[in-house]
Every structure is written in C-alpha cells, then in structure tokens.
C-alpha cells in the first residue's frame, strides 16, 4: 500500500468540497437538458459532453470514490434514459469515470486549472473510447472510433471544463 506523508490524508479531507443538495441535483439535470435541447439550434454543441464534465467535477470535489461511483451511475443512467440505446451504456462508463476521477483527486491538487484541463481531456477521451468498446462488445454495434477527431473534441471539452469548473466552484458551501 502506498505510504503518504504524515498529515496528508487530513489535508486532503479538509479539502473535500460540499454542495447544496439542490445544486447536486439541479446541475447534472441542467447539463442533461442542455444536451437534449441546445444542439437543436447550435449543432456543434452536440459534441459538448456536459454531463461528463459535471460527473468529473463532482467526483473530483468530493474526493470519495464511493461518491464518485454514485454520481457517475446516477448521471449516466439519467442520460441513458433519454437516449435511444439500452440503459446502462452511459451508466457504466460514467461510473468508471466517477470512480477514477475521485481516486485521482486523492493524489493531485484538483483545484489547479492546468490539472483540471489535463483531467478533462483525459476523461473525455477515456469516456468516448470506453463507450465505443462497450458498444462493440456488448451491443455488437459497428461504430467508428476516430482518434484524431476524439482528441480534438477532448481538447474542446477540456477547454470548456476549466471555466465551467471555476463557475461551479462558486456554488461550494464554504465554512
């Protein structure tokens, strides 16, 4: 098991962010509704994975893998229920994203914008790749995976993630 310096866990625990329950429900809901409604008018925004960014944010801020699993599963299943594919596809992928994001948050300073940028990029790529693997393996769908396009979209999503996370930081309960 990895040994951390004395006081490390206490420091990390003190950095756990808390949110209003209404914000925890409303923010993912708004992110999902955004994905349902806005791309009708601005087609290019359909590539913005706001539910994923919100999953990553809450998992990073709570710093608890268990909480990350629940965030990811809940947001993913809600997203699945409005999609045309079987329930569980986004649920599984986002459960993993939530778990890994929360695990990462125990080892990195996730308040740093550069770290958030890198994590946003990494988790978007991981999300798209793992979704593609699941669609092929479990549903037998012959979807195309284009690494270059996914990298470009990952960059765009991570660029959006930084100011979005800064905005969401304002909703943290202080004190």
């Amino acid at each position: 098991m990895t040994e951390f310096p004395e006081g490390f866990n206490e420091t990390r625990k003190s950095a756990v962010s808390k949110f209003n329950a209404a914000a925890i429900v409303a923010i993912p809901l708004v992110a999902i509704l955004f994905q349902v409604y806005v791309p009708r008018f601005v087609t290019y925004l359909s590539y913005l994975e706001l539910p994923l960014l919100v999953t990553v944010y809450f998992s990073l801020m709570r710093r608890s893998p268990v909480a990350g699993v629940f965030f990811g599963a809940a947001i993913g299943l809600a997203q699945d229920s409005l999609s045309s594919h079987p329930l569980g596809m986004f649920g599984i992928v986002k459960t993993l994203v939530g778990y890994f994001a929360a695990s990462v948050s125990q080892r990195f300073d996730v308040e740093n914008p550069m770290v958030r940028l890198v994590l946003g990029f990494f988790f978007f790529f991981f999300h798209q790749f793992f979704y593609w693997v699941l669609a092929r393996a479990l549903l037998g769908q012959a979807l195309d995976f284009e690494p270059q396009q996914t990298i470009v979209l990952a960059v765009l999503n991570s660029v959006v993630a930084v100011p979005l996370y800064h905005l969401l930081d304002k909703l943290k309960i202080t004190g």
Binding site: V36, A78, L82, M89, G91, A142
Partner: protein
C-alpha cells in the same frame, strides 16, 4: 470476508455498481425489451420542460420579430410556408398522376393510389449522447404513433420512429449509421439499401458495379422495408463511382432541405409509383408579366382555366370526377370512367374579339 469488503470498500462498491448495470444491460439486450417505466418517466419529465423552453423561446422570438422588426410578416410567412408545403405535396401527387396517366397501368394506379394519412409533429429536442442522430418528436402513443412509422417532410423522407412514449417519440434520422431503408433509382430502377453515415450525406449500398446509376439521378423509397411507402423522394445522387464489388453511391437527403422543425409521421402509408420526372425544387427565375399595350383589346381570361396542356388535363379530370361524383384519393372508390365526356369542355377556346372591339392592326414597317 467482512474484513476484505471493508478493506476494499471502494472497489467493492464499484464492482457492484458495474455488475448491476451489466445485468440491466444484458436483460435488455437478451429480451430485446427496454426498461420502459424508467424511460417513460424520463421522457415524460423532459417533454413538458422542453415544451416550456420551446414556448418561451418561440414567444420571445415572436415578440421581437412581430412587434419590433417585421410586425405581422412572420405569421404571414408561416402561413405561406404551410401553403407552399401543401401545394408541393399536391403538385408532386399530380405530377405523378399525370406522368403515369398515358401508360397502361394508369387505371390500376389510380385505383390503388391514395395519399398517405399523416400526423404533423414538432421536433422538440435531441436525445443525449454526443453527435446523436435521434430526435424527439412531440407526438406519442396518445396521438396514435407506433414504432417503425415513417417520418417525412414534403421534400423527402427524414427517418423512422424507434421508440414511442405517451407524449413523445424518438425518431432515428436517415443520417444515423444504424439506419437502413430500401430505395430505388428513378431512371434505371436500380434497387439498393439506404444507409446513414453519421454526417450530412447518406449512402446507397448493395448496388452491383454492373448496374447503371447516373450522378444527379433521384432515389425514391422502394417500399421493400415495409416502413416507408414506395415513391417518397429520398435524395439526389451526388457521387457515383465504382467500388470493390458494389458501387459507391452517395446522396444528399432531400428531406432536410428546409431544416427539421416540423415533420409528418405516416400513420397509414400508401405506396405510390416512382415519378418519371425529377423533383422540381430548383429555384427558377421568372420575369414579371409584360406591360399591357395602350391600344390592345381587353381580353378577359376565364378564371380557373389552365394555361398549359397539363392544367387543362387536370381540369378535365376534375370535371369528369365531379360529373361522376368521384372523390380522388378516397380508398376503395375505384376510378372514374375517363372515356366518358365531361359535363362541359374546359379546354380554353381561343378568345374571339367581339365585333365592337377595336381591331389592332400590326404595325407596318
């Protein structure tokens, strides 16, 4: 055991969550059924919200354009757009009727042909997932919509209904990679399978290299898939080239030409013949009528009379139908007797100048 679970609590929770969702997924895939209750809740919760947002957006937009920019022009424009759509459908029907009228099958087609019954729906949103090609229409089981019903616009096919809920339904667009439909080319009657590509063009697959398809040729639904009635326009072939074993044919779908806000869901489809003439939807520049000459005799044209052979033929058929109390498009009513003389001839006779009218002589050079 308890010690292990406590020690690996995080991992245990992760594994349990993943396994639970895998079981859920496996159940749906194995039984080919979805967890309908959850979806009904989700769609029913989102539909009113989407409607409210749409109403708010539409109201705000209308307010600014109606009162500050164009006053009532927007309403007028919408009315005219609806009228144009209706006339386009009617025009397409009449063109098809005329093009087949002088063929041996004309009577049989007239007997079997009637316009499909449709329900208008409004597209209120997309489904989730980046780059999704499934949209949400605001008509569901309450309006009589069923799975696998065809969705069209006056310009062509748009997609098919893949899931239905009480207040909404999911429409899989023809551009989705999982979409497929039977199509037939207009000129050479070549059959193929339409497939989505995930972007704006669609592909016609399974057409042998030996078959003849020209660029610019129109494709129509063939009715083979039992979803789309035969004879609906699909799109124009923009790329036609030889492939490995099959031709590579790419179409520009015609159904999305005017955006995708309002669609028609076919609840009772009726197959139609493939029209011989291509769809006439290109803009044509027409000059205004020439100005009246100062000393020209005043000639009053009879109203409702056609100016072309086609117009006169339509008018003759209409008269025959009226004389025999036949309603075109009504199912099971057969065809009228076209050999019977109409009640009155509608072919426009040349207008003879009255003796009292001034006779204008041609100018002498």
């Amino acid at each position: 055991m308890e010690f292990l679970l406590n020690r690996y609590r995080n991992l245990t929770v992760l594994v349990v969550a993943i396994l639970a969702q895998l079981v859920l997924l496996a159940y749906q895939v194995k039984s080919n059924q979805e967890v309908r209750l959850i979806r009904i809740w989700a769609v029913s919760a989102v539909t009113p919200m989407a409607r409210i947002i749409e109403t708010g957006r539409g109201g705000t937009s209308r307010f600014f354009s109606d009162y500050f920019v164009l006053l009532d022009v927007r309403e007028e424009n919408k009315r005219m757009k609806r009228e144009i759509d209706r006339i386009q459908m009617e025009n397409q029907f009449l063109r098809a009727e005329l093009s087949t009228a002088d063929r041996a099958r004309a009577l049989a087609i007239f007997q079997t042909r009637s316009p499909s019954k449709t329900i208008a729906a409004h597209i209120i949103g997309n489904t989730t997932g980046s780059g999704a090609k499934v949209v949400i229409a605001d008509r569901g089981t309450n309006a009589g919509i069923e799975r696998s019903m065809a969705v069209i616009t006056p310009e062509g096919i748009v997609g098919k209904v893949v899931s239905v809920y009480p207040t909404a339904s999911y429409v899989l667009l023809i551009t989705d990679p999982t979409f497929a439909a039977g199509v037939i080319s207009q000129k050479n009657r070549v059959h193929g399978t339409l497939k989505g590509q995930g972007h704006s063009t669609v592909k016609v697959d399974y057409v042998q290299n030996e078959e003849k398809v020209d660029a610019g040729e129109w494709f129509y639904t063939s009715g083979d898939d039992r979803i789309f009635p035969k004879g609906l326009p699909v799109g124009e072939a923009t790329v036609v080239r030889q492939g490995k074993s099959n031709k590579d044919i790419y179409l520009t779908p015609s159904g999305f030409q005017n955006g995708l806000e309002e669609v028609l869901i076919i609840v009772e489809g009726v197959h139609a013949p493939i029209p011989d003439a291509p769809v006439q939807n290109q803009q044509v520049h027409l000059l205004g009528p020439p100005p009246a000459e100062a000393n020209a005799p005043v000639v009053t044209l009879p109203t409702q009379a056609g100016t072309t052979d086609a117009d006169r033929l339509i008018e003759t058929y209409r008269k025959i139908g009226e004389a025999q109390k036949h309603v075109y498009g009504e199912r099971g009513s057969g065809a009228p007797n076209y050999n019977a003389a109409p009640a009155e001839t509608t072919a426009r006779k040349p207008v003879e100048p009255k003796p009292s009218d001034p006779v204008k002589k041609p100018p002498t050079p």
